[in-house]
């Protein structure tokens, strides 16, 4: 089980549905690793369920129920047993080329790991954009070769890093698969990837990738290398 978790306010926003896609992707991926946070999200969703019970209803159009009933097909009702194997099989197939990544991430990557195009950021450090069309946040994959150290740097915006494979250490401790590292503007850190295996991370940064080029790269911690 992960030792470093997603902040509670992000779990609440995930449950209410208010998180932008890149942050939502990181939270959903962390949840794959973390039964404790899944339990918490479940509690917050129960609050959402209660709010739904207490809201003032607004009448539907007169023929709405009739229309809904017309659309029902008996065979569409999935049995619990019936739906599980295809989903699992689908993931097994996808995982074959993406090397076991959380399902929400596999969903975003489409072509799998092979289709990812990496950009070199520094020696032993590569990055690949995943979500670039959000107004505020961007999501990317980052791969750090074993033992590579990223020089001390600060951040121009908040940044969340989820370890997917391998691990790294900084002053805050050691981060392994499923752990989330929060970096803020006032935090200076120098992460070092574990020896042995390349460290693969999902990085969500506060700042649009649209502004890229050199200016946008200010948001990338590695610009300061």
């Amino acid at each position: 089980m992960p030792r470093f978790h997603v902040q509670e306010d992000l779990l609440v926003d995930y449950a209410s549905g208010a998180l932008p896609a890149p942050v939502s992707l990181l939270v959903a991926s962390h949840l794959t690793f973390c039964p404790r946070c899944r339990e918490e999200v479940g509690e917050f969703e129960a609050v959402g369920g209660l709010m739904l019970e207490e809201i003032n209803p607004i009448a539907m159009a007169a023929d709405a129920l009739e229309q809904a009933l017309d659309g029902l097909v008996d065979d569409d009702v999935e049995t619990h047993q019936g739906s599980a194997p295809p989903t699992a099989a689908k993931h097994a197939a996808k995982h074959a080329d993406s090397g076991a990544l959380p399902a929400p991430l596999v969903e975003v990557m489409r072509g799998g790991m092979d289709a990812i195009s990496w950009t070199r950021r520094a020696r032993g450090v590569e990055e690949a954009n995943l979500i670039t069309d959000d107004a505020r946040y961007s999501a990317s994959l980052m791969r750090i070769q074993p033992g590579v150290s990223i020089p001390n740097h600060t951040h121009t915006g908040a940044e969340l890093t989820l370890v997917l494979r391998g691990g790294f250490s900084d002053a805050g401790g050691h981060y392994g698969a499923g752990d989330v590292c929060h970096a803020d503007t006032d935090i200076s850190h120098a992460p070092t990837a574990d020896p042995g295996e390349a460290c693969l991370c999902l990085v969500v940064a506060d700042g649009p990738v649209k502004l890229t080029g050199l200016v946008g790269r200010m948001l990338n911690p590695f610009l300061k290398l």
Partner: protein, 179 residues
Amino acid sequence: MTLEEMIQAIARDHSRTAFAGLFEHFAPRLKSYVMRLGADERAAEEVVQETMLMVWRKAGAFDPDRAAASTWVFTIARNKRIDRIRREARPEYDPNDPLLVGTAPETADQPLQRRQHGDRLRVAIATLPEEQASLVRLAFFDDLSHREIATDQSIPLGTVKSRIRLALLRLRRDLEDLE
């Protein structure tokens, strides 16, 4: 028949009567929820129809030991609404993901406790101080993230976080006290 039993009746018997019962109960609430989040009436009715169709299709995946009917329907509507706004499906962890790190097996009385929680949570929410209750409502019904609530209400982000946190802690404590 409870709402939970109606969902189970769809899974078991493809019961249209049960579906109609769920529709009568949930559709007007869902419509209100989606409209409150900014959809116009027509769009809201469409989200409701899509949500109820998912209730029909996914009824077999509903587990009354894990969530109340209202919680389950809420999560479906939340996702349908987001899918409509974004081109991409909302990122969701997949309970069938081979990578999923499991939870410890439940003890026999945990499901019952969870159901009792639902009733108590209702009472607890009704007794929250208004400043906390209104922020929880903003979070769930106005689609505002903590950060946006802070801007909207002109309250510092730290204060929003701590008030919602207090509200949720209080809800949890009330539940534990009642056990």
